[in-house]
Symmetry: C2
Subunit: 221 residues, 2 copies
């Protein structure tokens, strides 16, 4: 039974710390977006596309979460925005404690929007609140349309769900109407978008939604 | 510090139990294949293709690991082989304890090859030995060629690495030569295969390797 007790303590400690992060971000007027998806779903590409559209209006930054390496951080660095690589050394998700620590590497007064690219994983990242304002979950078309029902926790918590690599629809057996229904059944408040980072499809519509949420928070605090 | 101690205990308990599973499988002459990959990489499809080829020679069975649901178990059921669904209720991997429990649902005297489809996840399943004879790791082409370096533990441990959905090479930026080099650098003993379950490519070559390893064990014990 001791393992169960410890897990509970970890989750409680995480929640306390997540609330601290929320307070810091509110005080510094930073909107944080936790981007979660399976490996290779297009997290980095989608963040790049969104930052390109945000840049005329908002100052963006990125926390790049990976088990190892800095492949994605290098891609993001080309945008000229602050990027900090968080190597989790084997951990399969980012926790609020790491998030709080990572904030110290940024000048938060000079950031409006902070993307957190979580570790590629549809399971564990969804369990840990990290003080974010918005959870964005991506399913890529080649993964198949059953990902929503097979990994329900993430889609129960996601504010926005993105079906990415949508230009690949003709090659894969993906019923996007059904997957959208499944997502809405898990979370009736969620909104579903269809994007292609390569073919530049649907990014504008997703950007409009993200920008509207950012401006709501930044005007309010 | 208590959390670190508990994790160590869990891993030690897992190792003991993994050894017990190994003994049971050796006594019953069952070859177990732990199939690991990200969500949607094609684990179920590849298992189906391999079983189709194995069926004339060996009796196969499947443990289907999922967080929730039984979508894949239903697909496998059509093969007419014993399939048992293991719902991990949120856990992101299969542990040896679950594996041992699952074995009681099968008539092991009537099984030669047992596939274990692990939870879709490139991180955690690699940490837990489950008494398997072989670890098969899949990367699908749409995920991108950086998955090997970004999730090194799995590829350090994998006996066979499969680049699946290989018919999609022309649509995605995937340098298969480099990814193969990366896999061999992590584990010089690993063997890399290229398959397409839809286009039926490369399955025969992979089957030959799998069948040769199965027959080695079954003749030896």
């Amino acid at each position: 039974m001791s393992s169960i007790r410890v897990v509970k303590q970890l989750l409680e400690a995480n929640e306390d710390c997540s609330n601290e992060v929320k307070e810091i971000l509110a005080r510094k007027k930073v909107f944080a977006i936790n981007v979660m998806a399976a490996p290779g779903a297009g997290k980095t590409s989608l963040i790049i596309r969104l930052i390109e559209k945000l840049q005329p209006h908002y100052k963006a930054a990125v926390i790049e979460g990976d088990i190892a390496g800095q492949v994605d951080a290098e891609k993001l660095d080309r945008l000229g925005v602050p990027v900090v690589q968080l190597n989790t050394s084997g951990a399969c998700h980012i926790e609020a404690m790491s998030m709080k620590k990572m904030l110290t590497y940024f000048n938060l007064d000079d950031i409006d929007v902070l993307f957190i690219e979580n570790v590629g994983n549809l399971v564990c990242p969804a369990e840990f609140e990290i003080g974010e304002d918005m959870k964005l979950a991506i399913v890529s078309i080649p993964e198949g349309d059953d990902k929503v029902v097979k990994y329900p926790l993430l889609f129960t918590k996601a504010d926005l769900v993105v079906f990415n690599k949508f230009d690949m629809m003709r090659f894969f057996n993906f019923n996007d109407q059904q997957a959208e229904k499944d997502a809405l059944q898990l979370n009736p408040q969620t909104k579903v978008f269809r994007t292609s980072c390569q073919a530049d499809g649907g990014i504008g519509t997703l950007y409009d939604e993200v920008a509207s949420r950012i401006s709501s928070k930044l005007e309010e605090v």
